[in-house]
């Protein structure tokens, strides 16, 4: 069979139009922006960990370095960074707990546990751990 007898479905290849994704695509929708902020929050979570490690090191080095560390922490810039970090860590935790039901499928007695319960149990665990930490630090 020669080429002329075959059907030529792709004889004319159309010129497709491709639109480039804007660098600022994450500003185009509220949900995209929330997503980017959630991703960004990981930087501040990391900062929280680093700060805590420095605190532990200062305590380990004795009273003088500990007092120096506390003094440094009172610097307005450090306080501002820590305040912003607190906001982002809380934001991270809340968005994380709200997303948890989508990734977790829990079954009890054959029926699927509603997502609200899973989110609520995450929040409850968070509250208990926070209360425990507060008790150890402030009361214990």
């Amino acid at each position: 069979m020669g080429d002329k007898d075959r059907p030529a479905y792709t004889e004319y290849h159309p010129r497709w139009y491709r639109k480039r994704v804007s660098t600022y695509w994450w500003l185009q929708r509220g949900t995209y922006l929330v997503f980017i902020l959630r991703e960004l929050s990981s930087v501040f979570v990391a900062w929280g960990v680093v700060y805590l490690l420095f605190l532990v090191r200062a305590i380990g080095q004795g009273e003088e370095p500990y007092k120096d560390f506390i003094g440094w922490s009172k610097h307005p810039v450090v306080m501002a960074v820590n305040l912003i970090s607190l906001f982002f860590v809380v934001f991270h935790a809340i968005t994380w707990f709200n997303l948890a039901p989508q990734a977790m499928v829990v079954r009890m007695r054959g029926t699927r546990v509603p997502g609200k319960w899973i989110a609520a149990s995450n929040y409850a665990a968070w509250a208990v751990v926070s209360a425990l930490a507060a008790w150890v630090i402030l009361g214990g």
Partner: protein, 250 residues
């Protein structure tokens, strides 16, 4: 209420246009009319050159997905009156190349769909004489939500990861992989895992969650992918701590 509404429709005719342009049409704004009815009115009464895909008009075929006022929508389920007094912007689905007017090129999605093996895979086929595979309502319930996907690609249009990285397998294909993984009759989850537990597969997803919000059939692709990540991680842990025979347990 105004009895007419204006539709701003994206036009792209590759033989004459270098860039897409917007063209405005006035269509009747009836209570029972959806955007697709407006487009069909344009095609029949005003301008026969307008190209768009549609078929069933009842949210089953998944052909008429377009971007309506910036949101990915099935135009057969998007009422004109909800956008009154207008105008309504109608554009093709985002993140896909435009072939003509509102028609996008979907070959990429079709190839990805095949890659996830969206069918029941058996290690050994059973002869027909042995009868059907039986399932309990609980077993059906496991995957039913994911089986509602109509391949309309609204989730791909909503997904910024797919927009930025066209190699990403994408929400619908991954949700459909999960649909078969969770089916009690299927034995192909290991084959799918090898193909999908990769950077372009489930790990490409950053859980924006926009696919789930866009889905007209409540499939929740984002949830399916996160569940898939969880089972992939567990399988990896199992293989790491119990290298002997763990691969059978997936």
């Amino acid at each position: 209420m105004a009895d007419r509404i204006s539709l701003q429709v994206l036009r792209y005719r590759p033989e004459q246009d270098g860039q897409p342009t917007m063209q405005e049409y006035e269509v009747p704004c009836l209570k029972e009319w959806v955007v697709l009815d407006g487009l069909n009115y344009i095609k029949d009464q005003l301008d026969g050159t307008l190209s768009f895909r549609w078929s069933c008009r009842m949210g089953i075929c998944g052909s008429c997905g377009m971007t309506v006022n910036g949101e990915p929508k099935l135009t057969c389920a998007t009422f004109l009156t909800d956008y009154a007094p207008g105008p309504i912007r109608v554009e093709p689905l985002r993140n896909f190349p435009i072939v003509r007017d509102l028609v996008v090129e979907m070959g990429d999605f079709m190839r990805k769909l095949v890659k996830v093996k969206p069918w029941v895979v058996r290690k050994e086929e059973r002869p027909l004489s042995e009868g059907e595979f039986r399932q309990t309502p609980e077993q059906l319930d496991e995957y039913k939500q994911y089986s509602m996907c109509i391949n309309c690609m609204l989730c791909y249009s909503a997904c910024p990861v797919y927009g930025l990285d066209p190699l990403f397998v994408g929400p619908a294909a991954l949700a459909l992989a999960q649909r078969y993984n969770l089916d009690s009759r299927d034995e192909g989850s290991k084959e799918r895992m090898d193909a999908l537990s990769q950077h372009d597969g489930i790990w490409g997803c950053t859980f924006v969650g926009e696919c789930t919000r866009a889905c007209p059939k409540n499939v929740d692709p984002a949830g399916a992918i996160q569940r898939y990540k969880l089972s992939a991680s567990l399988a990896w842990l199992k293989a790491f701590f119990m290298p002997w025979g763990a691969r059978d347990g997936r």
